[in-house]
Symmetry: C2
Subunit: 420 residues, 2 copies
Amino acid sequence: MSQASVDPSSLRVWKFGGTSVGDLDRIGKVAHRIARAVEDGHRLVVTVSAMGRTTDRLVATAREISERPNRRELDALMATGEQQSVALLAMALLERGVAARSMTGAQAGFRTSDLHGEARILKVETDALERALASHDCVVVAGFQGVNPNGDTATLGRGGSDTTAVALAAALGAPSCEIFTDTDGIYTTDPHAVPSATKLDQIDYEEMLELASLGARVLHPRSVWYARRYGVEVHVRSSFSFAEGTRVKHLSRDKEQSMITESPVTGVALDTAHARINLVGVPDTPGVASRVFEALGNAGVSVDMIIQGVPGDDSSRQQMAFTVAEDYVNEALEAVEDVTNALGGQATVSHEVAKLSIVGVAVGSTPGVAGTMFRAISDAGANIEMIATSEIRVSVLLPLAQAQAALNAVHAAFGLNQAE
Amino acid sequence: MSQASVDPSSLRVWKFGGTSVGDLDRIGKVAHRIARAVEDGHRLVVTVSAMGRTTDRLVATAREISERPNRRELDALMATGEQQSVALLAMALLERGVAARSMTGAQAGFRTSDLHGEARILKVETDALERALASHDCVVVAGFQGVNPNGDTATLGRGGSDTTAVALAAALGAPSCEIFTDTDGIYTTDPHAVPSATKLDQIDYEEMLELASLGARVLHPRSVWYARRYGVEVHVRSSFSFAEGTRVKHLSRDKEQSMITESPVTGVALDTAHARINLVGVPDTPGVASRVFEALGNAGVSVDMIIQGVPGDDSSRQQMAFTVAEDYVNEALEAVEDVTNALGGQATVSHEVAKLSIVGVAVGSTPGVAGTMFRAISDAGANIEMIATSEIRVSVLLPLAQAQAALNAVHAAFGLNQAE
């Protein structure tokens, strides 16, 4: 076998999440699994997240210093979590006789855009990585990070290690990557929330992309986008067993062949990590919406759902509302402050909201799907605050307190509960 | 003032130790002190150690994985401690309106040799640092680290942040640097051990170099070496007050002019971080010592004191003993194992030893100094196991249990106790 470059057929790209490397005992188990694969003749590139709740702790520390920590510095801080876990895993591998070495994202050639906290991978320069692979059985790459054009450490956003894994597979020419996590695959909805949820053997990139974007936290949306773009099959499986998980791949649109269920809906997602911002008392004149969303765009805030035109007490003044990720609420409020002040309105925040979504490749083309969803929600006693749709999904914003009942009802209404 | 390069007269290079940034409150105090200096018109390059006991905790974690963690991986792990503290300090500065940014050692241009855990600074490429200084009031540089010729993170050894500070001053053309620490200067001996120790206003590089090498932990020996070589004055002072500390600089050899005490001894140091390794039953034939020390050299183990030729029971077999830093005991034992096995001897370790040293530029040229030291030790009831001398110091190895009494006695014998 050539030592100079990597043979894709023997190469495995694996990713372990924070729970899978949550303590030294688990890091030992991961090392053992890698050692077995090396014995079987594989070479591995393994990316890992920070141990357990490390990232949360680092962010909490930063927030003790500053309500809105500088994002460049926050990235520099957060990136150390993965840098610690890769060094520890490499030590554990070396201890078991596996020729291993760790690399930071920068060392592994991850070049990113400069949007701190949400950087995109622009390129993976694999020279150093391939050199390392030529002389090691396993290279452990810090997930979630890279270096931006200024030479600064930039992070890929929460769950970015999934993207790291897919990007590694794509850059090294591996046909697939395996995401080891604390669940054994992708379910029709979060099985912690709905115990009767059904595990899927496979799911189409498009559906997974929507589900991941909608708060199904098993995969990071950008990793799915990246996997679809580069045709990398993603195998999501348990780090605690050798059972098959769920394969995310391109599936035929012939639903009878490809779908595990008869339902037009493949998955239901509940997202509680967004807040609703209400602009009250803003005049109903042309250009107001564009000023608001321009200000948000300039501040780097992504808006999720938007509703406009609900009349307030004063019919010459409209109410506008939108949702943003909880992490961006302060930025969003500051961004719209000038506009609302100038217009005599004000911005308020509702944190107690949840977004419930159904996803399926045929959702848009199957009559009655949205109606079934809305009826189930209504029967569960929940009030719909906003609606957004695309070809393959329908999302509604609900009061947080009513969300669980609505999730159960919708999941059951589409026949997604496990067969008894 | 030119923005393109750094004006040395307004530039300050500061270093804060781990205790000074031990928690967020203290980081806030450091940020406040920096902000005051910025208000006074200074630009600052500040290097900090890892917070509190962070480095110790990281090493302990690594040792849970491996009795002898791979040194490359240990470096990658340890370097994250300083990377966290610089990001947090930069955030605290930004929060106070100081234009600040953090840099890792690699980003700040620290190129090192490849001896992991004890790397030397080969060069500081200041381009990125000077660019950062042109647009920021304060650049916070991770101490203790750099990047080696392989592109790997390498650390400078314990206390290496002192060396980082001196190297920054030298590279940027600053005439001095200030080392802020938890004591208010350099004392005739560790004031925690001997409360009557006297603070020195100034001390010669040579004396400080010996004291630092001998376990006076206020400054890292390599930082003193570096300061002497580049003529950087080092001001060691308290991070908790604005009082003057001790200036480490080139002093005239005219002792009456330069020394604070009348004594030929400037300082007394006690070092408990070394262990004694005894080679028992090794034959008394030519070449044995060279085989032993060659093996240690190949393993990267620095030997401190050596004693040879103490006859054992069998007079054809000699006893040889040497001391090494505690961190290198395992490496040392492994390195000598082949030699001792081949020669029918064996290696044993004594951890319960301490090295007591006196230092002064005139120690070697003043008659009776060693005699005074040995008599004081003997009167204190301590047994001398080994002796080593240089022009400006005398060191003895003692049983650990007798070391404190010997320290008190020697410190008093040379008139170093504070005037009442």
